[in-house]
Symmetry: C2
Subunit: 211 residues, 2 copies
């Protein structure tokens, strides 16, 4: 198909598609004349993936580039690719030089050890969790393993479901798309459902007895 059809079918403008090609997020089409190129199904799939990562994950182009580079490298195993995607999501927190931060970060590392989780030292989610500990303590709320237990249970059960859902006997592209969908898109599914459930429970608890 030509770029105009690719644009129609992906819902992205020709300018945007050319920008993604220039930035290396997508390979060029096959040149048919000096000014024309042919695109195929794989280009369309790539554009859909990029669009999902941008719209739902709110990922910058540089992060998407890291992900697609790892995707294209067959030597990169699924776990490594998974880590690349997740670490690209950020957040990229610069640890402040502050004793409260260091204490919170040590607590996170201890929690991960106690749970027996196999997680890289540089995982951005460690810093994200430490940031919440600092904020909760600053507001006067202690953070104990008991407080965290319901979150650990929920997070573990969802994560097991997600990772086990990835079928390994598919072509790599399909597997990778499924994995990216799990990490980036289903994270937002969890957040959205969490908020909807909170509103419902809040309605039942805080307006109970009212007409």
């Amino acid at each position: 198909m030509q770029i105009s059809e690719l644009s129609d079918r992906s819902g992205l403008t020709v300018q945007t598609i050319k920008f993604y090609i220039r930035e290396g997020l997508m390979p060029k089409g096959t040149s048919t004349t000096v000014t024309r190129a042919e695109y195929d199904q794989r280009h369309l799939e790539r554009l859909r993936l990029i669009r999902a990562l941008r719209e739902v994950g709110d990922l910058p182009v540089a992060s998407i580039k890291k992900i697609v580079t790892a995707m294209e490298d067959e030597a990169v195993g699924l776990h490594e690719l998974f880590g690349t995607t997740q670490y690209a999501l950020g957040p990229h927190i610069v640890p402040p030089n502050d004793p409260h931060w260091r204490a919170a970060r040590e607590d996170v590392d201890m929690l991960v050890r106690e749970l027996g989780w196999n997680v890289g030292e540089r995982a951005p989610a460690r810093a994200l969790l430490a940031q919440t500990f600092v904020a909760l303590r600053r507001l006067g709320f202690p953070v104990t393993l008991t407080d965290l237990r319901p979150y650990v249970t929920a997070a573990t059960s969802v994560a097991e479901h997600e990772i086990n859902r990835v079928a390994l006997d598919n072509p790599r592209t399909l597997t990778v798309h499924a994995m990216l969908a799990s990490t980036v898109i289903y994270e937002q599914v969890l957040t959205a459902l969490h908020r909807l459930a909170q509103e419902d429970v809040s309605a039942r608890r805080f307006t109970a007895g009212r007409p």
Copy 2:
């Protein structure tokens, strides 16, 4: 205390504190001379809350203003205040004029009805969920109630824990702080633990059998 001490104890610069006062996020101190004002514990608590909302919730000043205005109005009940906070979190998605979007939004509304959840029509989380449905379908992944079940279960159990944790016999300020902590900060706790759990399960599944 004077503004310099307030700055030391809150970890915010004097400029930032003055900016928050100008923007109406915090009441002025009590003037003692033409150039001096006294601040108390309530100012410090307010600054800690603002800082938590900014750093963890990444909330803009305009959203924080909506929250503190509702907080200060004793006529605003807890459920309404909860909604104000949650809706201020966004995301503020402008629904595209697109049949895929409308279908996804109808599916979200049907899901909420089927679950029997009491959730406002304008809840931003409905649009957030619809956006994920559009993205998943675009990538070729159907979204069924079976796929969503583990998320619904996890979200409900965490939300019930959170809302029931809010003690109603405390002074309003304490209750409100606890509620904001639940909505804004613990949402990030869930996200962080979800990512850490995913990395662990991914390590066990995708590198199994390797040394």
